[in-house]
Amino acid sequence: MFTKKKKPVLSLKKRQNQRREFIRSSLLAVGVISLSMAGLLPVVRGTSARLRPPGALKTTLDEQEFFAACIKCGQCVQVCPVNAIKLADLDEGVGIGVPYIDAREQACDFSCDGLQCVLACPTGALTHDLDYPADTRMGFARMDNPKTCLAALGQGFKGQVRGPDFKGLLRYDEIDRWSPIAVADHPYDLELCDLCVRQCPIEIRISQCAAQEEERAAAIEAGKQAGKIARVAEQHGNECPPKHAIELQAIESDDGVKRMLPVILDGCVGCGVCEMICPVEDSPSIVVDIDKITDWV
């Protein structure tokens, strides 16, 4: 049983075949491993940074943790009501299958309210540490080109934002609370363009909260007068954004003329709706930077 097996003597041809197979196998190993490692190039070069869905594990431009934790399944893509999330392709190397948002094409407008993508993520790549849109830190908006801004030029806006063929969706609460509609189906007629302020999800939520607060106060007042205890439960208390994100401010320019200009405030979460809705053709006046977030602007 313990006798050592004699190694069989192989014919020349067999030995030659074995040697060839060994060389082939080595080449296969080197080839496949180098190809897969070429996938690291975009992250080494730093060209992989993109706007990511809410809760993405990232610190400014460093997305290593996010790429590592993401299992590339696209469940976040599937739950997004405005189809804002897309999956990266092979040109992003190891970032393949990782979700990103192209804000100009379709921004995240938080019309799911509860951050569905975060809830859908099976690996925590979109961290569960946040509950509400105002907790999000995706980026930070910036006036890229104030010279083209319609508000700064004192102009209004009439018609379809971004033209009739634009596919982008937004939720308009006053039209349908539950399903977003095409921006093209919702023409505007504004004396002074304030689209980036008007459609900012944080600003919309703040005004809703204010309205609710007023209603509540009125109900309590009405109850007092009727001699009853008002039964109005505290609603949406903690999801009301604590800070404003954007507002039009009157700014005096060099020629002494006062003009309105959108100013980005500390409450901005970088969702990109302003970038999407900016009606300036070619390149928007306002854009979202991915290397800044409100806490460390």
């Binding site: 197979e21 060994f22 082939r24 196998s25 296969l28 190993a29 496949v32 491993i33 190809l35 897969s36 490692m37 996938g39 690291l40 992250v43 290593q64 943790e65 790429f67 590592a68 934790a69 993401c70 299992i71 590339k72 399944c73 696209g74 469940q75 893509v77 599937q78 739950v79 999956l87 392709d89 092979l90 040109d91 190397g93 190891v94 393949i96 299958g97 859908a120 993520c121 099976p122 690996t123 925590g124 790549a125 569960h128």
Partner: protein
């Protein structure tokens, strides 16, 4: 022969253990002896012909149907929002329950070095599922690349028959080396490097979310398999196969071999994705009259379909006595 140890040994690239002649049962030796020189070419052809008239590719049809159904279910769940099977092959939710592909989950755990509860749940569910269903059953019954590769294989075999292409083999240990290197790469680089080139994830995402550039890589792999090396990715590279093969060592669903009627003509080895597991069908190579095919087997059923003597069959260990 220990089934688990022998399975692991073959999965990691060793040759099948040859039986010790002195330990082979006398009854088995008698069976081998009784068949010496008995089979003529005409008789074999007749046996094949008779077999073909009774059945045809029953398991292949069932398998293709299952594979296509699963992948279509992913697509339908997304496109029509039926929420039955959301996600992709790497991780999904089946009627709300978390599922995570074991190899993708392993890569994420090694790279991220944190494991959230949902991933633990998803990984455990899938582990138990494939433990019961046969481990590498994933490869042949679910993996979308497997089906493409199977079609490429038909083309390869047809071209090889016409002597237009020649099959080049690699050493099976290459796959183990890939397994270790990809695990180390994930651990050290902090990126899931294997996912970049994994055709399983790429094809699955392409089916669900639409095609992209990455399909060029898949096309290249298929061409490589057609013109250079039969089933190269599944046989010599893919670490997913190793992960599920290890799970499969403990699985009760197996293909089992009975030596009594076997002609040892080798039709099963010709159709098999992992022919080393069927070396036991060579005359003199079995350890007993009945022997289970080891866990590197993908339970695809091609050998069960092709065997002219019904010497290979599916079984559920522990249940076969009751069925």
């Amino acid at each position: 022969m220990n089934y688990i140890l022998e399975s692991l040994s073959q999965v990691f690239g060793n040759k099948p253990t040859r039986p010790d002649k002195s330990k082979q049962p006398e009854a088995l030796k008698a069976i081998y002896e009784g068949k010496k020189g008995k089979l003529t070419k005409a008789a074999l052809e007749a046996a094949r012909h008779e077999h073909k008239s009774t059945c045809c590719n029953k398991w292949q049809r069932r398998r293709w149907l299952t594979l296509i159904l699963v992948n279509v279910l992913f697509l339908v769940s997304y496109k029509f929002d039926v929420q039955l099977l959301e996600g992709a092959m790497t991780a999904s939710r089946f009627v709300g329950f978390h599922f995570a592909d074991l190899n993708s989950a392993l890569q994420v755990m090694l790279a991220y070095k944190h494991v959230v509860l949902n991933l633990v749940i998803g990984t455990s569910t899938v582990f138990v599922m494939w433990l019961l269903l046969g481990g590498r059953t994933f490869c042949s019954w679910v993996c979308p690349y497997h089906l493409l590769s199977e079609w490429a294989e038909f083309l390869h075999l047809w071209l090889a028959k016409k002597k237009i292409v020649k099959n080049h083999t690699f050493h099976r240990k290459t796959r183990s080396i890939f397994y270790v290197i990809f695990a180390l790469l994930a651990l050290l680089s902090g990126y899931t490097v294997f996912e970049t080139i994994s055709p399983t994830g790429i094809v699955s995402r392409a089916i669900i979310y639409g095609p992209g550039l990455a399909l060029i890589w898949v096309g290249f792999l298929l061409l490589f398999e057609v013109f250079y090396s039969r089933r190269a990715w599944c046989r010599y590279v893919c670490p997913i196969g190793i992960t599920y093969a290890v799970v499969g060592t403990l699985s009760p669903i197996r293909v089992t071999y009975n030596a009594v009627a076997c002609h040892h003509e080798g039709d099963c080895r010709k159709v098999c994705l992992v022919p080393h597991v069927l070396d036991l069908t060579i005359r003199g190579a079995a350890h007993g009259i009945d022997q289970d095919v080891i866990a590197d087997c993908t339970r695809c059923g091609m050998c069960v379909d092709v065997c002219p003597t019904d010497s290979l069959n599916f079984k559920i260990k522990g249940l076969d006595k009751f069925l």
